[in-house]
């Protein structure tokens, strides 16, 4: 009996999860503060002038402005999609501001020029930005300074429309890795941006993606050169702060031949009565034998308990396994937003390429989630794997929508899909909508789906052992999502387990 495992990190986390829940008071959304920073905000409304304003603010080259305007003209001809199982009043796109930047943000990033209020905001978010030393220009600081997650993580922080700080850049540059804001990439690396921007999600892909092309303000850019294994996690933190602003970020990640990168994305917003729009586009390109691991913990404000306020999250995320034996893996934890409309997808173009999608989607209150993935098998011997865990509580609706298709040339395409739904209470709904399509006799697609409820017997059993209602639910739900949690980088697991408990608070009793 001497060979018991040292308690796993997970157990520690479970304990923290429970502490976190107990520490919470009335307001369960702990990121609901706003930061009082003077902002430079574009006038409300959307026109070609708005786009010229954004482009000018960003000091963009002419080709970028043209690209935006072209997208805007396309967008004007398009209709808002309505096929998702989500309901919301029509969005007035003329009543949104498309650009907000902290006023004190200008020019080269040094500690003195970062608004102290802003730094405090990130501290509240659990991003202490200890890289202040780096920003202050202390030699050697990059080697010694900790990061938001304690481990090796480089962070790009996007505040409303502007990337505020990108850390560890010098460190990464030594290996030829580019990690910067997309605005900067447009100015500094135009060849790379022009070659890949819009190559995975075309300008006219869908209503929100096209809108994003026209008005995107900032986001992250990553390029991993051939043969390089990125030595640390790259991370972006997105935060919407200003009232009535939309956030339209754009992320582009390119992994050249034989390279590897793991990228983390986190999102929060203040609590506001009115809805705010978030319409991002993320494009991933994996060339020959390259691997990209993209993890998201989405915790936008979900609205209050009556369904008032909250973020509309209409996001287009797509990865292109362009090279042979390339590999893209999406892992997402969706707990926030009033409405989530999101399908991180993989185009399996290269022979032998592999796509994965691991998802935890939690909805409570009046949240509506319509999320899933698309695995498009184009190359030979391509494989994909989908594990989706939906948890619905309160009055929420939680839909998994997934497409798996094999084209005629996709010999030996393989997919395995598992969709599990867990219902808490009897006022919520879980739905699974798979689209499976094969034009190739050698393709093998498997689909498994289950729906279950947390039973009274499970609750009673846990309580009899001393767990409170909420501890019991947190434990059972953490067990339910375990298969997916294991795919998250360590740095995100802690946060995720806390989030799961927080999101489900008040769902029992």
């Amino acid at each position: 009996m001497a060979d018991y495992d040292i308690p796993t990190l997970k157990e520690e986390i479970d304990r923290e999860t429970v502490e976190q829940v107990l520490a919470l008071d009335v307001d369960k959304y702990k990121y609901g503060f706003e930061t009082d920073i003077e902002s430079d905000v574009a006038a409300v409304g959307l026109s070609e002038d708005t786009i010229r304003f954004i482009s000018a603010k960003k000091e963009e080259p002419e080709w970028m402005l043209e690209w935006r305007l072209e997208a805007f003209r396309r967008w004007l001809t398009m209709d808002e999609p309505n096929w998702a199982k989500v309901h919301y009043p029509k969005i007035d796109f003329q009543n949104i501001s498309y650009y907000a930047a902290p006023k004190s943000f200008k020019g080269p990033k040094s500690l003195d020029e970062v608004d102290p209020e802003l730094l405090r905001t990130y501290e509240k978010l659990g991003i202490p930005l200890k890289e202040q030393a780096i920003l202050a220009g202390v030699e050697g600081a990059a080697e010694s300074v900790g990061t938001p997650f304690g481990a090796n993580v480089a962070v790009d922080a996007v505040f409303d429309s502007v990337s505020v700080v990108t850390t560890f850049r010098a460190e990464l540059a030594k290996q030829g890795i580019i990690f910067c804001s997309i605005s900067e990439a447009i100015r500094e690396y135009p060849e790379l941006v022009q070659k890949y921007l819009g190559s995975v999600v075309p300008v006219s892909d869908n209503y929100y993606a096209t809108l994003n092309c026209a008005v995107f303000t900032d986001g992250s850019f990553v390029y991993i050169p051939k043969g390089v294994r990125c030595p640390m996690e790259l991370s972006t933190y997105f935060r919407i702060n200003e009232k009535k602003t939309g956030q339209f970020e754009r992320t582009l990640i390119i992994a050249d031949d034989d390279s590897y990168v793991s990228y983390l994305e986190g999102c929060t917003a203040p609590m506001r009565d009115e809805h705010q729009l978030h319409a991002a586009v993320v494009e991933l390109v994996a060339l020959d034998n390259a691997e990209i691991k993209y993890s998201t913990v989405q915790n936008w404000y979900p609205g209050d308990k009556n369904g008032k306020g909250g973020i509309y999250n209409f996001v287009t995320k797509r990865g292109d396994c362009r090279g042979v034996n390339s590999h893209i893996s999406w892992t997402q934890v969706e707990t926030g937003s009033a409405i989530t409309w999101k399908y991180p997808s993989c185009i399996l173009r290269g022979d032998g390429s592999r796509g994965e999608f691991y998802s935890i989607a939690i909805s409570n209150g009046y949240q509506q989630v319509d999320s899933g993935t698309k695995m498009i098998h184009l190359g030979k011997n391509t494989s994909s794997r989908i594990i989706s865990k939906g948890i619905a509580a309160g009055f929420s609706d939680n839909t998994y929508r997934g497409q798996v298709s094999a084209h005629a040339k996709a010999k030996n395409a393989r997919n395995f899909t598992q969709c599990d739904s867990l219902l808490i209470g009897d006022k919520c709904g879980a739905h699974t909508v798979p689209y499976i399509e094969s034009r190739n006799g050698t393709a093998v697609f498997e689909h498994e789906a289950t729906t279950s409820k947390i039973s009274d017997d499970q609750m009673f059993y846990c309580q009899q052992r001393g767990l409170s209602d909420e501890e019991a639910v947190a434990l059972i739900v953490n067990g339910f999502v375990r298969d997916v949690l294991q795919h998250l980088p360590m740095e995100f697991m802690v946060e995720t387990q806390k989030l799961i408990s927080i999101s489900l608070e008040g769902s029992v009793g």
């Binding site: 157990e11 009274d456 052992r465 001393g466 767990l467 209602d469």
Partner: protein, 253 residues
Amino acid sequence: MTTPVLEIRNLHARIEDREILKGVNLIIPPGEVHAIMGRNGSGKSTLSYVLAGKEDYEITEGEVLLNGENILELGPDERAAAGLFLAFQYPIEIPGVATMTFLKAALNAQRKARGEEELKTPDFMRLVKEAGSQLNIDSDMLKRPLNVGFSGGEKKRAEIMQMALLKPSLAVLDETDSGLDIDALQVVSKGVNALRDGQRSMLVITHYQRLLNHIVPDVVHVFSDGRIVESGDKDLALKLEAEGYANYGGEAA
């Protein structure tokens, strides 16, 4: 007189319109093991659920004192922290939650509720090792999700292990012998007997006398139609085994 570990006074409980417990009276002093025997449907399992605080039942009359404190107003988790443990007849599966994780969560939740420090991991591991040693529970079993895919014997051993770890002042064992072959029954009984320490009290609910050869009770009660109708020493169990429940009214099982 020392305070009894358990005192039940004139307990009446119903589920919907049906009265199941019809005036139960029972006193268990510290360190004693009492057995309740009765035919199926006599209300024995209901008594265990009512003691543990399952929501489905409505208490219409009576009191239940645990170490002198009325527990009827407490939730199931509060009763657990106060020292009541129920070994389930059918232990519930908790998918994805490793047995070890569950044990730690349960133990720390109870400690916290009692205002005690949460256990440091090395101390916890030591306790788990102690609790598992009598019951042939190895580290492999502790890594598996609780009760998922466990055999009947494994489930009951896991229950007794939890009891050993949580150290209740009152353990209620609901049909712990059901689903056990003779070897498993011996292992489980040995585990239970190891927890008889002169202070801890037990209420052993069973249909058959055979369990009581292994866990020898101080007092045997016959349960019929929602109440205790006769009490005696362990020989009463043998008499019941020989004569059946027919003498206690109702139909033969």
